[in-house]
């Protein structure tokens, strides 16, 4: 198995402002969102980070996507370190979350070209890829319509397509089905499985058990920023359902913490 991503001892502590302290109902000035987290992902698999809200999933993925820097630890994606070669990482991955938006003023066609250019994709390659991806997602008819005028589902598909302009081998997706209607959610999960079949590596985070059961090969369960368990879905669900297993682990972890 080829290791595509290796995260080692990633930690991230945020300083909390007065406002955030109130919001979190705490008097401590810092919050450790991710605590010495390590895991690996291999070529051709879907790796899922499972955890409740506030567990540190988004923070972890943002570190992997080089949007924020870990306080300690490092991660290497396809040979590029997020610390020493963030631009190398950026050119190898696709990062998708509902927080990253497209400029609504532009058309999918323009945005595809724009991001291709930022990634340094040659025009011929770009056009071929655009035709294929737009066709695959039924965007072709809307290629000249401003994103602002597209339906939510169509916007999500465009985001997905735009993130693939540079044909990345590693796809990092935070809460892939959050806020999507069932049809678009289905389109997204189908696409993730297609990408996996093409031999790409996919890392998703979610708090939805069924999504993990449906698409993941291996799962890391995060509780309070720590990796509680990291194993194949098969092993985790050998004796009981993923949900029951999760609550066993959760109780055990929280018991230790409290």
């Amino acid at each position: 198995m080829e290791e595509m991503l290796k995260a080692q001892e990633l930690s991230k502590t945020f300083k909390l402002s007065k406002k955030q302290q109130k919001l979190e109902k705490t008097t401590t000035k810092t919050k450790t969102a991710v605590d010495r987290l390590s895991f690996s992902a291999y070529r051709g698999e879907v790796f899922g980070l499972l955890g409740p809200n506030g567990a540190g999933k988004t923070t972890t993925l943002r570190m992997l996507a080089t949007l924020i820097r870990p306080d300690t630890g490092d991660a290497v994606i396809e040979g590029s370190s997020i610390i020493t070669d963030p631009n190398g990482v950026r050119s190898k991955i696709a990062f998708l979350t509902s927080e990253l938006k497209l400029e609504e003023f532009f058309t999918p066609d323009y945005l595809f070209d724009f991001f291709s250019e930022l990634h340094g994709v040659a025009p011929a390659e770009r056009d071929e890829r655009k035709r294929r991806l737009f066709g695959r997602f039924g965007i072709s008819d809307f290629a000249g319509v401003k994103v602002a005028n597209l339906s939510t589902g169509m916007k999500q598909k465009v985001s997905l397509v735009i993130s693939m302009v540079h044909d990345p081998q590693t796809i990092i997706f935070d809460e892939p089905t959050n806020g999507l209607d069932v049809i678009t959610a289905r389109v997204v999960t189908d696409f993730l499985q297609e990408l996996k079949a093409e031999g790409r590596t996919i890392i998703v985070s979610t708090h939805i058990f069924s999504l993990i059961e449906k698409i993941c090969d291996r799962v890391g369960i995060i509780v309070s920023g720590k990796m509680a368990v990291c194993d194949t879905l098969e092993n985790l669900t050998a004796e009981k359902s993923l949900e029951d297993k999760f609550f066993d682990i959760y109780a055990e972890m929280e018991g230790k913490v409290l």
Partner: protein, 391 residues
């Protein structure tokens, strides 16, 4: 970087409404507003050229019978008894002027000697209403005629009487220079600033607010290129907005000053070199303005907040501009030209009054470019700072 710039331009020029409201509208507004103001002022303080003034006189002396032959005056002789009713008519703006001469005016004037006389000089009383434009003008006209008559009686010498000669040695060029150098730096600076303020916060704080900049930050585009690309393209757009306002002003100034005064103010006194220098100075100034607003926008969480942050700066710039209106020309000390905004204002002042020193222009432009580069680097740091970008 080119890609970023292209996108910014596509964003801006693709949006007809935005082009209209930031580039065309300000210039058009200023032109229409100033022209309107000019003609309104003219209406307010000028009377029609062919207006005939209604002038009532009491005891009109023979020596001034010439008043009757004045084209624009209609002289109506009245009695002393009419004085009070006429005064109320003037008060009610029903008639324009009442001139009361003392009885036997000509004899009294002839008998009066300012050196030896024990009595006061003969008194002519003119009743008028200064709020009533026609009345005020009639007053000025009649006063002028009377003064001229008085002078002609005791003329010992004249001052500047040769109408064909030029006595004011200031050239038209210098007068224009003085006028423009007082007004334009301030106007230009505020136009440029408000043009920049209408685009930069939108492009930086706005993208941050809408989460579109994070999408750019996960691509391998260098932060420094993103920052430079944004600053350069926004500067070009800001410049267009500022220049449009400027053209509007230049076209409106003659209208605002009215025919007479406007005639001697001619932007034609400036040569190509002056325009090139002006353009260079404002270009470098726009870079600085965009740089500063971009950085403030980078820190701001929303477009609104960015606007609020930049407002105090706008006030400072305006104050610097207004100060130059009352200073005595551009200072020559070069170190003063290291101060951003102040240097631009003083350079423009210098250019318009034909007294700009090349070294100070060079220092200003050089400094402004250097400041912009520093600010671009700072903006790149801001884009790279998770604390500022994702809260």
């Amino acid at each position: 970087m080119i890609t970023i710039m292209k996108k910014e331009f596509a964003r801006f020029f693709g949006d007809k409404r935005m082009v209209f409201s930031t580039v065309l509208l300000p210039g058009l507004m200023i032109y229409v507003l100033y022209s309107f103001m000019g003609s309104a002022i003219a209406d307010q303080f000028m009377t029609a050229a062919d207006h005939v003034y209604e002038i009532h006189t009491v005891n009109l002396p023979d020596s001034l019978a010439s008043l009757k032959s004045q084209q624009d005056l209609e002289v109506i002789e009245a009695d002393l008894a009419d004085v009070e009713p006429l005064k109320s008519q003037i008060e009610a703006q029903e008639t324009e002027l009442l001139v009361v001469f003392p009885e036997g005016f000509d004899e009294k004037v002839a008998a009066y000697d300012s050196l030896t006389s024990q009595e006061t000089a003969p008194l002519v009383e003119i009743y008028y209403n200064s709020v009533f434009t026609e009345s005020g003008t009639a007053y000025d006209t009649v006063c002028g005629i009377l003064e001229q008559y008085e002078t002609s009686m005791a003329n010992k010498f004249d001052v500047n009487a040769d109408a064909a000669k030029r006595y004011d040695m200031a050239t038209e060029r210098e007068m224009t220079g003085q006028f423009f150098s007082m007004l334009l730096p301030m106007l230009l600076m505020s136009f440029l600033f408000s043009a920049c303020l209408s685009i930069a916060p939108e492009s930086i704080a706005g993208e941050k607010e809408r989460g579109t900049i994070a999408t750019l930050l996960v691509t391998p585009v260098k932060r420094s290129e993103l920052a430079t690309g944004k600053i350069l393209s926004l500067s070009v757009i800001g410049l267009l907005g500022g220049v449009s306002s400027f053209i509007g002003t230049m076209l409106a100034i003659p209208k605002m000053l009215g025919g007479a005064a406007g005639g001697s103010m001619d932007a034609g006194v400036y040569g190509g070199m002056d325009y090139v220098m002006t353009l260079l100075v404002i270009l470098s100034t726009v870079l600085v303005i965009i740089g500063v607003i971009s950085i403030l926008s980078g820190f701001a969480k929303s477009v609104k907040e960015a606007g609020a942050l930049a407002t105090p700066l706008m006030i400072i710039v305006m104050v610097v501009g207004v100060m130059s209106m009352f200073g005595d020309g551009a200072p020559s000390a070069t170190y003063l030209y290291l101060i951003p905004f102040y240097n631009s204002v003083q350079c423009l002042n210098g250019i318009f009054s034909f007294s700009a020193l090349p070294v100070n222009l060079a220092v200003t432009i050089g400094c402004n470019i250097a400041y912009t580069m520093i600010m671009a680097a700072l903006l790149a740091k801001i884009f790279d700072s998770e604390k500022i970008m994702y809260i």
